[in-house]
């Protein structure tokens, strides 16, 4: 089954973590996604504003993978921005973070997150998480048109 690869915006300030996410997804199925990586919240908002504008230089992602603790603008602010913006609201945002704090989980869902994933410390678990993520979001989930 051939289909267009899913465009993902990865918002992650830790370069090593970005690399882990990328590699895990590639191991799942490199054909199924295109990854754009930004390193802080402000950069993510800038990217999305541009992509959602009348004359975009980049396309809107179909899915956002969002870390919470970011320089300048933090992840929850990015999430809030996306869900308040009519042109961005349809994009599912999945939080991927080291924080398992109850307040973060609650706030994320209240702001409209579609999922909340805690980065596992154990390598195998991280791979399993990525596989499960891939099965759901890359293989079966249907996305709204922009």
């Amino acid at each position: 089954m051939m289909q267009n690869p899913l465009s993902i915006l990865l918002v992650e300030d830790d370069l090593a973590h970005a690399e882990i996410t990328r590699r895990n997804l590639e191991e799942f199925d490199v054909e199924l996604f295109e990854l754009v990586h930004v390193i802080d919240g402000q950069a993510a908002i800038d990217y999305l504003v541009d992509a959602g504008s009348a004359r975009p230089t980049a396309a809107l992602p179909q899915l956002i993978l969002l870390d919470l603790r970011l320089p300048r603008v933090d992840g929850l602010e990015v999430l809030s921005h996306v869900k308040r913006d009519a042109t961005l609201r349809h994009i599912p945002v999945v939080v991927l973070t080291t924080s398992a704090a109850d307040a973060d989980v609650r706030d994320a869902y209240q702001l409209g997150a579609s999922g909340y994933l805690v980065k596992p410390v154990v390598y195998e678990q991280f791979q399993e998480l990525t596989r499960a993520f891939g099965v759901f979001w890359l293989r079966f989930n249907r996305y709204a048109d922009a």
């Binding site: 590699r23 390193i39 320089p71 991280f126």
Partner: protein
């Protein structure tokens, strides 16, 4: 002689039918002392007694006309008397031709089977042949008659004369009053007819009287107005010249009997009270000895009644130094006195009593009734009450709070606190006013809510409100057990100033938040490198197994960086924790010297940037930990240089250290013309491990450390920037006096 008995002449009883009877009659007539005639119906004399012949002379003989015996002018009277005596007795007076006056009593009956009259002719007093004595006696009697009549009329006892049938013959005014009838209403009628007494009791009385007995006793009778009364009466037959009568004397004793009953009733009530009342009652003679005491008096003192009756006031009084004379003067004036004194029991113990004296009369002598109320229990309650009041007073004195009493609508009814200094206005300015008129709507809303809660649930705790801008108060309210004078619930409310507590709470809350953030940050930031190391360890073994050595080399590099970062973070955290724990003794520090030292530590960066640090012209002496304050300046200058790099002013990067004096503190600032801060991110500046720029080196601990050091020194730190690209000023304050009070 009973002329009237049965209405039949006694002579006829024997009958004259037989010669024996006639002879008996003849002998009887001879023996009768009165002149007696038996007449035929036509008035002819059939028989007469010897006395008759003697009194009326020879004209009086058998066969003569009876009327002929009397003076001619009186003959019609005699005839009419005979004619009227039809079954009745008739009494007339007639004069014989000799002048002697007779009283004629005429009866009708039968003689020898034919109707006949019996006439008894009695010579009147003074009219007889031995008239001198009679006349004298008669005159005396006539003289006495009005006297007796007057006595009769004036008697307080009811006196009545009845004929032998019980018919009223005469009665005095007292008797009229007794039965409620007038004389005219009763004459000739008897009491049974009138309904004064029942027929049965009348008959019983008559039977007694007929036997010649005097009746004496109590008699219930009914007055004319229908009221049933009780009389004491004495009825007895009396023989009067006109015949035999019944003399009744009566006296109404109803009121007396009732009075007696009332008295008995009173006495019973008195006894019941006397025996059962809780107060002791003593009756004392004027010499103070007791002549009667009640059971309560005995109980109070522990003596028997018999013992107390041998005692007097002196033996029971335990009051020393009591001004008896003064008390007695008051008693002498009014006959009444109440005072509190002390009595002694049989066992020697004393107890307080309230003594009430009342003058009375006993057996014609002055005496005193004394009532003693044991006040032991009352005293105890009073003592308890005083104790409770004193305790309450002390509590109120000790309370650092304001204590109010409100009604259910929020009107301040009372104010109890001794600490009136806590108030801005004297209590009278707010008493009887409603809270809503005294405070802001917000505050009165909170207070009224608490009062209502207390009214409904009995208690309200912890309503907090703010007065005069920055003072926090807390109200606790409780409903009183009783109602106010308006029958509505009352609430006692205690208002306590909690400003200090509130500030501490706020501070604690802030610290808690900070700690939470710190924990969160630490766990997040420390977990990050761990995730990296673990993941790349996984990749490393994969890549090694696949023989991809280039990839493996990269994996190791990621792991090394993560481990380094972790090391760095740990170091920084340790450093941060040291700020609060490990301090150096505070000393006076020259700001310029300190800044100079910081610049020396940063000489490399300053030279690389071609920068100039401009120190303040005015030096000040700071008070604090030299090592830490040096760290602050070093951090701030390092940041300023870092973010000014490549942004020279007049050919050089310039950073300024400035100082301003305020009233009780110095404000030290480090100002640059560097990249500035977007106002949106300024709040994140002093957070732990916060970096506004992910590409800059370091963990982001610097400003968090600065903040911590300054706070430990009792100062504040903040950053100002007009925006991105427009430079930054980071300032901190330090108190300019050392804690000892001296000026730094």
């Amino acid at each position: 002689m009973r002329v009237a008995e049965g209405g039949e002449p006694a002579a006829t009883d024997a009958g004259a039918d037989s010669p024996r009877n006639a002879a008996e009659l003849q002998s009887l007539l001879g023996a009768v002392p009165d002149p007696l005639f038996v007449l035929r119906e036509d008035g002819c004399i059939l028989q007469l007694s010897a006395a008759a012949q003697q009194a009326l002379g020879p004209a009086a003989r058998e066969g003569a006309a009876f009327a002929e015996l009397w003076r001619a002018e009186q003959r019609p009277l005699v005839d009419s008397a005979l004619a009227q005596a039809d079954g009745e007795r008739v009494l007339v007076e007639a004069s014989a031709p000799s002048g002697t006056r007779f009283e004629l009593r005429v009866g009708r009956g039968s003689f020898a089977g034919a109707p006949a009259y019996v006439v008894v002719a009695r010579p009147q007093f003074g009219a007889g042949p031995d008239d001198a004595l009679y006349r004298q006696t008669g005159a005396q009697l006539r003289e006495l008659a009005p006297v007796y009549r007057a006595l009769f009329d004036a008697s307080l006892f009811g006196v009545a004369l009845f004929d032998m049938h019980g018919r009223y013959h005469d009665l005095n005014p007292a008797f009229e009053k007794l039965i409620g009838y007038s004389r005219g209403e009763v004459l000739g009628r008897n009491n049974a007819e009138l309904g004064v007494i029942s027929s049965a009791s009348m008959e019983a009385a008559n039977a007694e009287l007929a036997a010649g007995n005097t009746q004496l006793g109590l008699l219930e009778f009914t007055r004319h107005d229908g009221e049933t009364r009780l009389a004491m009466h004495c009825t007895s037959p009396v023989r009067l010249p006109a015949g035999t009568f019944l003399l009744g004397i009566g006296f109404d004793i109803t009121d007396y009997v009732r009075f007696q009953e009332a008295l008995r009733d009173q006495d019973q009530k008195f006894r019941a009270l006397f025996d059962n009342v809780a107060d002791g009652i003593f009756f004392c003679r004027s010499d103070g000895s007791f002549f009667e005491v009640n059971p309560a008096a005995c109980r109070q003192l522990g003596y028997s009644r018999a013992e107390l009756l041998q005692m007097g006031v002196i033996q029971v009084s335990a009051r020393e130094g009591f001004d008896v004379e003064r008390a007695m003067r008051g008693f002498a004036e009014t006959g009444h006195l109440t005072y509190v004194t002390s009595h002694r029991r049989r066992d020697g113990t004393t107890f307080p009593v309230e003594l009430t004296l009342q003058r009375i009369e006993h057996a014609g002598q002055r005496a005193v009734a004394a009532i003693t109320r044991d006040l032991t229990e009352q005293k105890r309650i009073e003592d308890d009450l005083r104790d409770a009041r004193d305790r309450l007073h002390a509590i109120l004195q000790a309370l650092p709070d304001l204590l109010f009493e409100f009604d259910a609508d929020g009107v301040i009814c009372d104010f109890y606190s001794s600490r009136k200094g806590l108030l801005t206005d004297p209590p009278q300015t707010f008493l009887n006013k409603n809270l809503s008129d005294l405070t802001t709507p917000e505050v009165s809303g909170i207070l009224l809510g608490a009062i209502r809660e207390a009214v409904e649930n009995g208690l309200s705790v912890g309503a907090q409100y703010r007065v005069r801008g920055d003072r926090w108060m807390e109200l606790s309210a409780a409903r009183r057990g009783d109602l106010g004078p308006d029958q509505k619930p009352r609430v006692i409310a205690l208002a306590r100033e909690i400003t200090e507590r509130k500030l501490r709470e706020q501070e604690l809350e802030r610290r808690n938040d900070e700690l939470m953030r710190f924990t969160y940050t630490v766990s997040h930031d420390l977990k990050g490198p761990l995730v990296t190391i673990k993941s790349f360890l996984g990749y490393l073994s994969q890549d090694m197994a696949a023989g991809e050595l280039d990839k493996a080399q990269k994996d190791i590099e990621y792991m090394r960086k993560a481990a380094d970062r972790m090391d760095e973070l740990m170091e920084d955290l340790l450093e941060l924790s040291r700020v609060g724990r490990k301090t150096h003794p505070p000393v006076h520090l020259s700001l310029r010297a300190l800044a100079q030292e910081a610049c020396e530590l940063l000489a490399g960066r300053i030279s690389n940037c071609n920068a100039e640090v401009i120190l303040p012209e005015d030096d000040v002496l700071l008070w604090g930990d030299r090592v830490r304050l040096l760290e602050v300046l070093q951090n701030l200058l390092d940041n300023a240089l870092k973010f000014s790099e490549g942004r020279p002013v007049d050919g050089r990067v310039r950073v300024w250290v400035e100082v301003a004096r305020r009233e009780d503190e110095y404000v030290v600032s480090v100002r640059d013309r560097g990249i500035g801060i977007d106002p949106r991110y300024q709040h994140k500046l002093f957070g732990l491990f916060e970096k506004l720029h992910s590409h800059t080196e370091g963990t982001g601990i610097g400003l968090a450390l600065v903040k911590r050091i300054i706070e430990v020194h009792g100062g504040k730190v903040w950053a100002e920037s007009a925006g991105e690209g427009r430079g930054t000023t980071v300032s901190f304050t330090l108190p300019n006096t050392q804690p000892g009070g001296g000026s730094a």
